[in-house]
């Protein structure tokens, strides 16, 4: 933002950002378009010179700023969506994120700014694949999403499941928490009857190299023609722009901060892959499309916590959580499922107390591999203290979402344990495949 001093100066000259202005200082003058101030010093005005470059110029004593011409109105053309009865219909739900973002010159970063129609305008190939219906569900960066957003989104998907005219659903979503949303949607939608494809981008759509293009096209192919009834994530299979991997929502995890192929399946294999031309390969066991009725089960216990085990961890953290009303905890322990069982940080006494009231479920911070609390003493003692989570292969965030969902259905301790360790949506694997 510009400083007060600059804003006053602009107001006096009735200058708005976007106007063509002339700055004169130290005997030199510069003409250009006054840009909004995104970041940096509020005392420098940002001028877009005719060669396209921006420069920041301080208005020192004696400097003048004059308006030469008013801003040109922006020529934003909205894309019109056409209908072709011979093609299947795909519903694109829009929730925000990089996939539908562009540079915002006010705040400097990339922001969610696209109307759903813009998505089709941006990727004309979508129309060659299917009739595109779009709906803006909400506009949120994924780090700001809550379980309420998942519930709202699940309702929209549920509506689409009941509409026979819709072949599949594509959900544009921020990538940071996409695997939480994917898991939640999977649990919330019982007996799902068509493909539900979450898709995102690691590079914003305003750059020529954005992965949004390929990801969206591949997602649309899968949603329109895939013989699949699962919640999946479709993102780059490798760093190359050739294919996208199809990853079961309850197995997916974002495994890299910035790469295009950040998403991978944890303790499982991809369901398949799809390319730009629509060549689709599915493998292994997966649910196929059907005409049955889907059911919406979207109650969720919000008051749960995911707690990572770490050296010198105070057991009081757990105590505090329970005191503040926590209804369930996923403990992200070491490797096979270990945590402090001796010394000043011994968790056992407090665990014995709290597991009387709320479920404490063990997942592993190793991410890959299965929890097995029978191998070491610590694991056995933790089990004796009431920690559940034996022999499962759910990664911590998946276990977290599942626990919230399970607690949304039942408060019964035994039932919670049973449901947590029963496969509902393909989230639990009986075997750990060798990759």
């Amino acid at each position: 933002m510009y400083s007060k001093k600059i804003l006053n100066l602009l107001a006096r000259g009735s200058i708005k950002t976007g106007d063509r202005v002339r700055v004169t200082r130290d005997g030199r003058s510069y003409e250009g378009v006054l840009m909004p101030k995104a970041e940096g010093s509020g005392d420098c005005i940002v001028l877009k010179l005719d060669n396209g470059y921006n420069v920041g110029l301080e208005l020192k004593a004696g400097a003048t700023l004059r308006k030469i011409a008013s801003a040109k109105p922006s020529q934003h053309v909205k894309h019109k969506v056409h209908h072709d009865p011979s093609k299947p219909t795909v519903l694109i739900l829009h929730t925000g994120g990089t996939i539908a973002s562009k540079v915002d010159y006010e705040i400097g970063g990339v922001v969610a700014r696209f109307d759903p129609e813009d998505l089709v305008g941006m990727v004309p190939e979508l129309e060659r694949i299917a009739n595109i219906q779009t709906k803006l569900v909400f506009q949120e960066w994924s780090e700001n999403m809550t379980s309420k957003h998942w519930q709202t989104l699940a309702k929209e998907v549920y509506k689409a499941c009941r509409n026979d005219k819709i072949a599949g659903v594509v959900i544009g979503h921020g990538t940071d928490t996409m695997h939480y949303s994917a898991a939640a949607l999977a649990f919330f939608l019982e007996n799902l009857n068509k493909p539900v494809v979450l898709v995102g981008a690691q590079r914003s759509s305003d750059r020529g190299s954005s992965d949004a293009h390929l990801n969206l096209v591949c997602a649309a192919h899968l949603a329109s023609q895939g013989d699949l009834a699962e919640v999946v994530i479709v993102m780059h299979e490798s760093s190359s722009d050739d294919r996208c991997a199809i990853i079961r929502g309850v197995k997916a995890r974002k495994m890299h901060t910035s790469r295009r192929d950040a998403f991978g399946p944890i303790n499982g294999l991809p369901l398949g892959s799809v390319d730009r031309k629509g060549n689709l390969q599915l493998a292994g066991a997966y649910n196929k499309r059907h005409r049955g009725k889907a059911k919406l089960v979207n109650k969720f216990e919000e008051r749960i916590a995911l707690v990572k085990t770490y050296p010198n961890q105070s057991p009081k953290i757990l105590e505090h959580l329970v005191k503040s009303g926590c209804k369930g905890i996923v403990l992200e322990g070491y490797a096979l499922g270990q945590a402090y069982t001796k010394g000043p940080y011994n968790l056992l006494p407090i665990l014995k107390k709290i597991t009387q009231k709320i479920p404490v479920f063990m997942a592993s911070q190793s991410i890959y591999g299965r929890v097995n609390m029978n191998v070491y003493n610590a694991g056995r003692m933790l089990q004796e203290a009431g920690v559940i989570g034996e022999m499962h292969d759910m990664h911590p965030e998946l276990a977290f979402v599942k626990l919230g969902w399970v607690l949304g259905q039942t408060k019964d301790k035994q039932k919670v344990k049973e449901m947590m360790l029963t496969n509902c949506r393909g989230e639990l694997g009986e075997t750990t495949p060798y990759e």
Binding site: N51, G52, G56, S74, D206
Partner: protein
């Protein structure tokens, strides 16, 4: 040519690679490694900050190309792969750029904004090049007066093309992201000689920072040329200053010719028809290339340039004809080119077909027929591009970017890019240039001061002058700092290198570290050994391979002399002292490269005398 009457205006854009690490990551800028992996990518045109899509960007998009990027383990990382946001700007590169801006008396912005310049020819994985203006409105003094400096920028080098096949291009990521300083001048040079002087002056100024890379390709010049009534034409990327003068001359010739052509075309009321498919006329053609294309399903389109007859064979610069200018536009669209009726149609075995076309279109002698063969979409696009260019000829010279071509002419590369192709690099916050930072930027030592300093180290006066303005200076400094003899080292870096360069040896390709190592030992090595080592290093070998033998100590030399003498006693007894000359050969064969020839001769002479005595 009277450049004054023609109103010639030339401006330069110089790009100089820096020897720091890369601009937005910690990768090495040395380009020594081989690739280890490959990644495939595509690019799409996107709107810039002002919501318009730039014509240059669109042009590239129309060519739907696939790009492969070769990955290098230390010379590229996820930043070059567009898989990781840029790190903070390299402080050494920024320092050098600010030095240059200061030396050129530029106004330095109070805030430097890194921009994304849209480039979708694939040479940047992100689809843009990161670039920032660090200086505006400066000047440099020359023998022909003051030349304006429009901008000094700091930007990323692009990836270089390794391979091109159809619409697939393979780039190397090792070059991508190396810092470049760009200097843009006002069009204040009015003759080719002045342009050359200006380029030399700017090159010397850049070298004075001690931060520039040396060798082929590390400096590139673009030149803007226009004459009265002509248009601004940018000729891209040549490295030889000698070439620049000729290219400017040719461009002046071209613009003059196009202006004359425009007058003629207006008189003839020249215009063009829409392209029509004529593949059927060529089904039995004797032209093997077209026959092959038709057989593989390509289509042939024809259009008529009414009133252009005879014009297409007019040379407009060097041997380059107007027809060739038009064909460039067809080539740029991804076709194999264009055939037109002003060419020797007989030599293409196309007489019959062109006769049929003439009849079909009712074409007279003042008209020209053109054909283009390709897939429908590409062919039509190419036809339209050529027609547009032909129409544009009535207005004189089109603004465009051209690339140096054979015989010092240039060929059309793409339309001149507009300002719309810039938007902010939001991953790099603006860099505040406050007083404190500016005060820290010290101007590099001037040429005179440098010369004096070199002389005080014991470098001969003439050599000092040469070395002070040489890109070899940083190597010299480093070598001397680590123990090289200044006088010998300076001679190697100037006269010796020059002589070897003249012999056609690639001495500029010698790795800096090898050169420094050689210079450290230069005082102990015989001259011949240094020469041999330089020759070997120039072949791309490393220091340890080039200087494998330690130089001979006096005792070893004596024993070798002894060996030669003993083996030739008959000769010595017969010829006496005269045998010396005949013995030098076998001796040198033993000691070459390990001891100076003069030293060997002295030792031989001494021993020979004592033997004869």
């Amino acid at each position: 040519m009277n450049y004054n009457d023609l109103g010639l205006k030339c401006g330069l854009e110089i790009h100089q690679r820096l020897n720091t690490k890369k601009l937005f990551c910690g990768c090495s800028s040395t380009m020594k490694e081989g690739p280890t992996a490959k990644v495939m990518r595509t690019l799409t045109a996107v709107a810039g900050e002002t919501e318009e899509i730039d014509p240059a960007a669109l042009h590239e998009q129309q060519r739907d190309r696939t790009f492969y990027y070769a990955v290098y383990s230390n010379e590229s990382c996820l930043v070059e792969l567009d898989e990781e946001p840029p790190h903070a700007i390299n402080p050494d590169a920024l320092y050098a750029a600010l030095q240059v801006a200061k030396m050129l008396h530029c106004d330095i912005p109070d805030e430097i904004h890194v921009m994304r310049k849209i480039v979708i020819d694939g040479s940047n994985t992100g689809g843009f090049q990161r670039t920032a203006i660090v200086g505006l409105g400066g000047h440099i003094n020359t023998s022909f007066g003051r030349v304006g400096i429009t901008n000094v920028s700091l930007e990323e080098e692009s990836a270089q093309i390794l391979e091109r096949e159809g619409r697939t291009v393979t780039y190397g990521l090792n070059r991508l992201g190396i810092p470049l300083i760009e200097i843009g001048t006002a069009p204040d040079a009015h003759t080719p000689e002045q342009a050359r002087e200006l380029a030399e002056a700017l090159g010397s100024l850049l070298r004075s920072t001690g931060r520039v890379q040396r060798g082929l390709g590390t400096i590139r010049q673009d030149v803007n040329v226009s004459i009265k009534g002509g248009a601004r034409v940018e000729i891209k990327g040549f490295q030889e200053l000698r070439e620049m003068e000729i290219l400017i001359e040719r461009e002046v010739e071209r613009q003059s010719a196009l202006l004359a052509l425009a007058e003629e075309l207006i008189l003839r009321k020249a215009h063009a028809t829409d392209p029509v498919e004529v593949t059927h006329i060529f089904t039995n053609t004797a032209n093997t290339m077209l026959a092959k294309m038709v057989a593989s399903g390509k289509r042939i389109y024809a259009f008529v340039l009414k009133g252009y007859g005879g014009m297409l064979k007019k040379p407009i610069s060097g041997q380059r004809t107007f027809g060739r200018e038009l064909a460039d536009y067809a080539l740029a669209q991804g076709t194999k080119g264009m055939i037109h009726s002003d060419e020797q149609i007989g030599s293409y075995n196309l007489n019959a077909e062109f006769a049929m076309l003439k009849e079909k279109f009712g074409v007279g002698p003042s008209d020209a027929i053109c054909i283009i063969a390709e897939d429908e979409r590409v062919a039509l696009r190419a036809c339209r591009a050529v027609v547009e260019r032909a129409k544009r000829a009535l207005k004189g010279v089109p603004e465009e970017t051209r690339a140096p071509s054979q015989n010092m002419t240039s060929s059309y590369a793409r339309p001149l890019p507009g300002g719309a192709r810039m938007y902010p690099e939001t991953d790099v916050p603006p860099i505040r240039v406050d007083k404190k930072l500016l005060e820290r930027i010290k101007l590099p030592e001037g040429l005179d001061a440098k010369r004096r300093r070199l002389a005080s180290l014991g470098v001969a006066e003439q050599t000092a002058a040469e070395l002070a303005d040489s890109e070899m200076l940083p190597i010299f400094e480093e070598a001397v700092k680590t123990g090289a003899d200044p006088r010998r080292a300076s001679e190697v870096l100037t006269s010796t290198m020059k002589a070897l360069r003249r012999e056609g040896l690639a001495v500029d390709k010698i790795e800096s570290e090898d050169m420094i190592q050689l210079l450290q030992n230069v005082a102990e090595l015989p001259k011949e050994a240094v020469l041999d080592a330089l020759k070997t290093l120039a072949e791309g070998k490393r220091y340890t391979e080039a200087v494998h033998v330690q130089h001979l100590g006096p005792r070893e030399l004596e024993s070798l002399v002894e060996k030669v003498i003993k083996g030739n006693m008959d000769l010595i007894n017969k010829e006496g002292e005269v045998a010396f000359k005949k013995l030098m050969g076998p001796l040198m064969a033993e000691v070459r490269g390990r001891v100076d020839g003069k030293v060997a001769a002295k030792a031989l002479e001494k021993r020979l005398r004592s033997v004869l005595r």
